[in-house]
Symmetry: C2
Subunit: 243 residues, 2 copies
Amino acid sequence: MKNPAADRRLPLYHQIRDSIAARIADGEWGAGDCIASESQLAETYGVAVGTIRRATDLLGDEGLIERVQGRGMFVRRADFANSLFRFFRLSTENGQPLTPTSRILSRERVEPTDDVKAHLSLRSGEGAIRMVRTRESGDRVLLHEEIWLSAKAFGAIVDIEISELLPLLYPAYERLFGRVVARAKERLSVASANAVVAQALSVTPGAIVIRIERLAFDHAGNPLEWRISHGSADGFAYEIDVT
Amino acid sequence: MKNPAADRRLPLYHQIRDSIAARIADGEWGAGDCIASESQLAETYGVAVGTIRRATDLLGDEGLIERVQGRGMFVRRADFANSLFRFFRLSTENGQPLTPTSRILSRERVEPTDDVKAHLSLRSGEGAIRMVRTRESGDRVLLHEEIWLSAKAFGAIVDIEISELLPLLYPAYERLFGRVVARAKERLSVASANAVVAQALSVTPGAIVIRIERLAFDHAGNPLEWRISHGSADGFAYEIDVT
DNA sequence: GAGTGGTCTAGACCACTTG
DNA sequence: AAGTGGTCTAGACCACTCC
């Protein structure tokens, strides 16, 4: 077993799932890479291919890997297709991401608030980066975003050509800092617009807006970025199926 | 194959999944019933047990059945544990449903609005039932609900002892009318409280409230009930994990 | 003890992708 | 043609539930 910490009381295919997940988290296979084939894995783990299949089915269900017949199994790159932000027309009706334009309004190194410290697990004395940006589609501002990062990990971001950070931040984190966003927690609530948000969204101060907080993590579960976004509540509707 | 309409181009285990799902929808096995065992199914369908396993795994993932080791496979009763309403403290922190008290304020047979007709697929001329109720926890009103039903299917509900409709409506639909709610679509948006809602929730008219619409379906996909609920936006927060 | 689902094996053949 | 994942089989043994 590649991961000796695996709990031997668990079924074999769970242990193997954990081991493969750990190897992905360790960077043995990066996003987009083809991992070893079923028969190779069966041999290295000394089990039947059917057992490898059970393990990789789990990984597929969790979205860690993608299986393509005839080609292999690939480490999936997070695409956040289920994000709450999709309800702000950040994608077409077909689900194609349409990537509205980003406008970065400010980048600065500042003292983190207690909230930021708690979310990013910053030690006392550690600095933070605060970015403000808007996301626009056509001539409409859809979102106002406040983005917080650890200065220790991302400090150089304030000196980087702004074009390097466009159009999307997560690929830039990966390209410039080697930090990969693997998953996130999002939280939706309703708030009233403060002066800054109101001005950005062209609503009256105090108007009702949708607030989405997102805490983004790497594969190992370390928090990388905390983001507070506000968008107009007008026309916002979130739909789910329940059983 | 029990369901001759199954597409023979599909993998065997998909055809079997469809067949078993159809048999459940047809009422061959009701909610809570134990369906045939894996080995029985394997024999009747003339396939290996492993193939039955693939099919029933699909049904398990979809939430149609529940597998219990040593006992069998059971038709799952929808519990709506993922409903948006759980964010109105309709359940404890552990996820235990805590069922706030229901107070039915009115029941009447009325002409459906176009909206109601469209949602419940009512033919022109068909009547509708409109119920209004509140859901309360302790001394707080959590939700104000407007509930629409087809008069053809549920007409007698206006004459039934109100205690028969408590504490929950869906079990009452099943007990009194033989209609089983199997799944639902929910839609969350933000609205301002009209006079009636404001009074019920003890907020000022025009205050911001969370609006949740729910369209509930039976196993066959027929709409049974349309519900428009309003609750205070204060403290409302919806959380998800995204990848 | 009989019957159920849960895990695991060791093969077979098919469909698909790539060189 | 070689290699991949997708489907399917036919068994084995285990863990659990119920009588």
